[in-house]
């Protein structure tokens, strides 16, 4: 296949003293959803933040559509076509739903606009005048997704979208993402909920201790006895 849309090579990054990413390689091709699994604290969010420019990598490269992103600021990266659905949603709690959405909006021909997002996520339309802090967790997650859609990005980074949600809300979010996948959305999906990840992704990467230690298609993963152990970080793979 052609060159990947997102191509991360030997990426190292960290905070102050601790090196969190110790040489990560990862690729997402156009129209593909790639899941990134791993327990807490292995560096998944750091990886997402490095791609988005929120953490400055110490070495390695992040190429997006052939261009180097490493060293650019988050706003520059966002304008090149990446969007983030962050861990913990990070909704602007004092802004209304609609203001949250408008803030993220970058128009593109044939892309999403406010109406199409409301159509896709009708709950947001109902609550468009409510402030961010008045939403339930599931609604906030939808808003975070809506924000990413309105950015009309070419690649969306989902950071644990099911985290901290009630089972019903997890199902809803999962079906929204599944719907987007049908529309050929390219995405990197960080998850701890294996069930959700396996349902939504084309390929799976497992990360432990700042490295990707396992990579496979979803089908391979399901049938591989080492897979679950890799996922749980039990024993060396």
């Amino acid at each position: 296949m052609s060159e990947a849309l997102l191509d991360v090579r030997d990426l190292r990054a960290g905070y102050r003293r601790s090196v969190v990413l110790q040489g990560v390689d990862l690729a997402v091709r156009e129209g593909e959803v790639v899941a990134l699994l791993g327990r807490n604290g292995v560096g998944k969010t750091t990886l997402v933040h490095s791609i988005m420019g929120l953490v400055r990598p110490s070495s390695g490269s992040i190429r997006f559509d052939g261009q180097e992103l490493s060293g650019r600021t988050p706003d520059q990266i966002a304008r090149r076509g990446l969007a983030l659905v962050p861990q913990g949603r990070r909704i602007f709690s004092r802004l209304s739903v609609e203001e949250n959405l408008k803030l993220a909006h970058r128009s593109r021909n044939g892309g999403h606009d406010l109406d199409s997002v409301y159509e896709l996520l009708p709950r947001l339309h109902e609550r468009r005048r409510h402030r961010g802090r008045q939403l339930s967790g599931g609604e906030q997650q939808m808003l975070a997704i809506g924000r990413a859609l309105l950015a009309n990005a070419r690649l969306v980074l989902f950071d644990e979208p099911s985290e901290g949600l009630a089972p019903k809300a997890v199902d809803q979010i999962a079906s929204v993402i599944a719907g987007l996948r049908e529309q050929k959305l390219s995405a990197l999906l960080v998850e701890q909920n294996l069930h959700v990840a396996l349902k939504l992704a084309d390929a799976v990467n497992v990360m432990t201790k700042g490295e990707i230690v396992y990579r496979a298609t979803v089908d391979e993963f399901r049938s591989d006895p080492k897979a679950a152990r890799a996922f749980l970080g039990v024993g060396q793979v």
């Binding site: 929120l54 706003d75 990266i77 969007a83 602007f92 408008k102 970058r106 924000r147 950015a151």
Partner: protein, 298 residues
Amino acid sequence: MTFAAVGAALPGLLNEHLVSILNGLAVGMLLFTMAVGLSLIFGLMDVLNLAHGAIFLLGGYVAFQVIVGEGQSWLAGLAVAVGFGAVAGLALGGILRPIRHRGHLDQALLTLGLAFVLSDLATIFWGSDFQTIPSPVFLQRSVEVLGQFYPAYRLAVMGVGFALAVVVYLVVERTQVGAVLRAAVEDRAMVSALGINVGRVMLAVLALGTALASFGGVIGAPILSLSPGVDAEVLILALIVIVIGGLGSIPGALVGAIVIGQVQSLGTALVPQVAPFALFGAMVIVLAVRPEGIFGSR
């Protein structure tokens, strides 16, 4: 709200001290122009701009130079001063940039040093004598309010202050620009991940805040007179206003300004002996009861 409560509790008070109340509003509105910028800058950047008073003073001097020195119109003076304030804000942004990563106390210290330098530069250019900008000719009269005379200029200041409060409120609460601002106060990194250049937003807010301070210096000059020392005086008042109202809150700045205006005016009228203490007393009480200020959130 304060207004209504006072009026209801003491029916006679309103008539007897109407002028004091009115005047408290005028003083409050003048303080608001100063405090709102200070508060916005703190809310967004975590920088307590102790040079805000110096910019107030310099803004007044710049307008004085244009209006009295060059004989230009009041409006021209105002425009030049506001422009000057905005440029000063941009410069301040540039100066603060290298120490952004240090704590906000270091940044406060830097602005304290700037305040020293700026106010001294002002005395080099304009001396230490009092300089006053006469109020615009059409406002140089008194208006009768319930049998007492009241300076038209102060009514105008009050009106402009209110208008400014409304405009600032609307811009921040109702426009896209304002939404960016509110969002950035809450989560700067996320705003930038949405593709918005937060650095530019912060510069804009700095420029707006200092332009407002400069504006305050111009409209305050006919009332206060400009001289060294006015900068510290006004800065301390504005700090009290935003601490009472809650750092970073626009409604807080408005309410704080009105409260302090009334303490200074109505308070002096009612209990002149206590008034000098009331200002700081009010702040100590607010901080003791509600440490984050009336509208503050921590």
